[in-house]
Symmetry: C2
């Protein structure tokens, strides 16, 4: 059987589906259409092109062995008829044709299909404000945009950049401008934290603090009113002030390009994503869709989710390629894994945050740990902070987020839990998950097992914890009368006891059992140590001695310092 497959969209999902299908059915014909001049590029690499880490734009469009993935490449190497600068303007499902317009010439063509693949991707969400079209205002959505941003920066005409939105792309661009070009960068965020939606307040604060130390400025809880300038951008005006800037990057998320599908009568979600089943098939059995233009099922909540990521697109592309060739491949859904590198810090997560879990109706709790990420005696190690979100009662694990200077190690932990999430693991499964052990790579009780144990202690009531961000609020509130027992054994650094007489008390945990009379019984007492391990043991001792208002500060001074809490 030979068939003609038409694919609308030539980036990520389109090429993957095309090539997989052609390998399974070499005798069939594949036509891949894209309205852009360039196809099959790694759009996620744009920040690294802007920074200069990728020197040539063709680096984002090349194979690992330096072949540019242009239409000639697809013809010669893949036997795929790829046509750039060709926009599909309509789908006729009854006739099984698409209308394609060659943009340079305006010539229109009707192309028949046996099977159609929708890989139209997404476009930047457009804010309802004035000034978006001023020269110097950019979105990060194409190689052409990337080239114009980098050209302006390289020409030396940009001293300051304002970035609207602190999602992945906004922050990656902030790093690119500040780290490699030394520009003055200000990130403006509507929410009261960066990476909203994917991190909780403590990890988010740690990531922000790291970026601030590298010179990036943040303005949180600020709403952009308009962008102003005389002939070119000069400033961003918010509800709270003004950010002067020679360049503005607007990165406030993307929306699916599903208009063509909707116009053709295909089922589209309320949010605008094309609806597909596990085979990545739309409501029309001859039409598949995937990548940034579809919604997928969140396997943790069971609800639809929009997760526009190049990795999803690639995996879905292979599923579609299989099914075009008569296969039975399935894409059952996602748990929502992500990662981002912010200067030296890896930040990553999977599943739900505490806020996300609460919003989805779970009675959830988050447990935070900060600890050394491998055998502490091995010289090359780093701190890692992890937050495990679990449901009370069922003990079901709902998500894990983390930050660490050991980025690869962090992503490994996240991926491990992501692989378990579809099976609805409990915190005991995290306590017992079999992490490969050797001192250069892990601790004997790996930090992943440890966060499982910590969550177990919280869920059983064996430990009572508070995050450093919650602790900071109470500490800063003079009325709260917060007392701290510092249980560190080998105290180093600033003498906090002297700095805060009557509020901060040093009692090493090894002496606590014999100094119980020094612990206030009638006030809330917060137990502090290096990372939260010793303070948990102190809590056990005090609880056993009848103290009821004791709480352990999760992550201890390591977390206090990483989050920049002022004590």
């Amino acid at each position: 059987m030979s068939q003609q497959v038409v694919i609308i969209g030539g980036v990520a999902l389109g090429p993957k589906a095309a090539c997989r299908f052609k390998r399974l059915e070499p005798e069939s014909n594949v036509i891949m259409l894209d309205r852009s001049p360039r196809i099959s590029y790694g759009g996620c690499g744009i920040p690294y092109y802007v920074s200069g880490e990728v020197s040539e734009i063709t680096g984002l469009q090349s194979t690992a062995f330096h072949m540019v993935r242009n239409p000639e490449f697809f013809r010669d190497v893949k036997d795929v008829d790829a046509r750039n600068e060709t926009e599909v303007t309509a789908i006729d499902r009854a006739a099984k044709t698409v209308t394609a317009k060659h943009l340079p010439t305006g010539r229109e063509e009707t192309i028949p299909y046996d099977k159609l693949v929708l890989a139209m991707g997404s476009r930047p969400r457009r804010l309802p404000i004035a000034g978006l079209d001023l020269p110097g205002v950019h979105t990060v959505d194409s190689l052409e945009a990337a080239e114009s941003i980098k050209a302006a920066v390289a020409a030396g005409s940009v001293g300051s950049v304002a970035i609207i939105g602190s999602g992945f792309i906004g922050l990656e661009m902030a790093v690119a401008f500040a780290d490699m070009w030394g520009l003055e960068v200000t990130v403006i965020e509507l929410f009261d934290q960066i990476l909203p939606g994917v991190t909780g307040p403590t990890l988010s604060t740690m990531a922000r603090k790291h970026m601030e130390e590298k010179g990036v400025a943040f303005r949180l809880s600020e709403q952009v009113a308009r962008i102003e300038g005389n002939g070119k951008v000069e400033r961003v005006v918010t509800d709270k002030g003004v950010v002067e800037a020679d360049m503005v990057i607007v990165s406030v998320g993307v929306v699916p390009n599903a208009e063509l599908a909707k116009a053709a009568g295909l089922a589209v979600s309320e949010r605008g994503g094309v609806l597909v089943n596990e085979h990545m098939r739309t409501s029309d059995p001859d039409i598949y869709a995937g990548g940034d233009c579809v919604e997928v099922k969140n396997l943790v909540t069971g609800q639809p989710m929009y997760l526009p990521l190049g990795s999803m697109a690639n995996r879905q592309g292979r599923v579609i390629g299989d099914n075009l060739a008569g296969g039975d491949a399935r894409f059952t859904g996602v748990v929502g894994s992500w990662c981002v590198k912010l200067f030296d810090l890896g930040v990553a997560g999977t599943g739900l945050t505490l806020a996300g879990a609460t919003r989805a109706g779970f009675d959830a709790v988050a447990t935070h740990i900060t600890a050394i990420d491998r055998a502490h005696f091995y010289p090359e190690h780093g701190l890692m902070s992890l937050e495990l979100v679990a449901e009370r009662g069922t003990r079901r694990v709902l998500g894990l987020q983390g930050v660490s200077v050991m980025g690869d190690a962090l992503i490994g932990k996240i991926n491990t839990v992501a692989a378990m999430l579809p099976q609805k693991p409990t915190v005991s499964d995290i306590s017992n998950v079999e992490v490969a052990y050797s001192p250069p790579f892990a601790a004997a009780m790996d930090i992943l097992n440890t966060v499982g144990n910590a969550a177990d202690n919280i869920l059983t009531g064996q430990n009572k914890g508070i995050s450093v961000t919650e602790f900071a609020k109470l500490w800063d509130d003079a009325d709260s009368n917060v007392q701290v027992i510092d249980c560190r054994e080998n105290l180093q650094g600033a003498p906090l006891e002297a700095k805060h007489p009557g509020r901060w008390h040093n009692i090493p945990q090894g002496q606590l059992r014999h100094r119980l009379q020094e612990v206030p019984k009638d006030k809330p007492v917060f137990l502090m140590c290096n990372t939260g391990a010793r303070s948990y043991e102190a809590l056990v001792t005090l609880t056993d001695a009848g103290f009821t208002q004791v709480v352990s500060v999760e992550g201890g001074m390591a977390a206090v310092n990483a989050a920049g809490v002022d004590v």
Copy 2:
């Protein structure tokens, strides 16, 4: 309820069980007995102490915040009665007592228990050869042994070291001697590969080649006959020759210390490990056991397995601590994850190798890939080689092994699959596993998904592969008449076509469709490219054109070079 718990053994499992139990039942009494002078140390860190990366031996016995875990520490900080240099000589299960002998004084004491924990660990397997007791012959089983090895090396009296056994400890010691001290190191191995049992021939060859490049010599398939020397060790004599050496390390595995348990009438396996159920309880309901002295269930084969690792001991220790306090914690078994750092190379695995799977009765196949471990355009990346072992028919994944200079990234992939193995995943589950994606950390089609896809192609017959080690055997055999089609597009490096006229043919894959007449139809043809991706596409093209004797070389020239295959 207050009870008395006696723990025999003060390293890893013993302290973990003791401390966990004490946190759950602070009012109960715990006595932990160990015959060694020092307790609660990280024995896995000994190679890093010998190398000098850990400067003081107390570094292996300290907490992350520099407290030495000696009996005083256990008393003050943990409220545990830890007694070193105290050997248990008998268990009286009827009376519920142990007989403990204080070694310095010879004083004996009978200690009653409500619950007993066996944490006796393991000891080095002793080879049945002469010369083991010569000065300069060491095993790596205690801090005292570590100190005497390091003292001899630091004194400058050691120029050459022979290491018997190429398991984890033998190789880690080889690295310590060669890398940090510049000694002449020869590893002698009975099997025809290093890391026997845990790696297949290709990955093992890659690891060995890396170590050879760093100066370590290997003698494979050699049986040690005896160790010789006049008053001190001078040489190792094997069935094939002699290795002169000033020091000999014997590291040929460990055996469980289960004699005490056996003498007390507890169930012990044929191999000698104490038998326990999921609660880590022995055949006596008041006696628990864990760590290096027990056998556990392999969750892939369903059979008992001996896996003496400090990480297992720690996880099992927590389970025992919970159950001592009346809990219902379970340790259901292991999948057999491990990792080791050999100079710059991480080597790791989980589950079964191809040979192990075959031995366990599976009709299995291994698929090898070698590729860049993340977005190839991101400047910091490295090669990773992965081997996925799967069962034909069921497509069940049985194991994954790998090597990479990006060690943390490799261990992350291994842990991800390890977390899935108990659920009996198929190769499709590996193709679809949700790896967090961002160019600094992963490829859009992550290498883990790729090895799943590659295995899928092999299992469906869509691709036919051969490992580079199998290819090397055929290539070296003049009678095999091996023909190579080199499908690389941008050929760089040595002109292999000119070096091997009539055997090596350059046909870039993009031209192959039009140069079919150059491909021999009557002989086996091996397709070679950079990493195995292009050669797979060439195989599809040739198969479609009616060629039947074509095979793709898995991992391509990247694997050829990493394994040191001479072409």
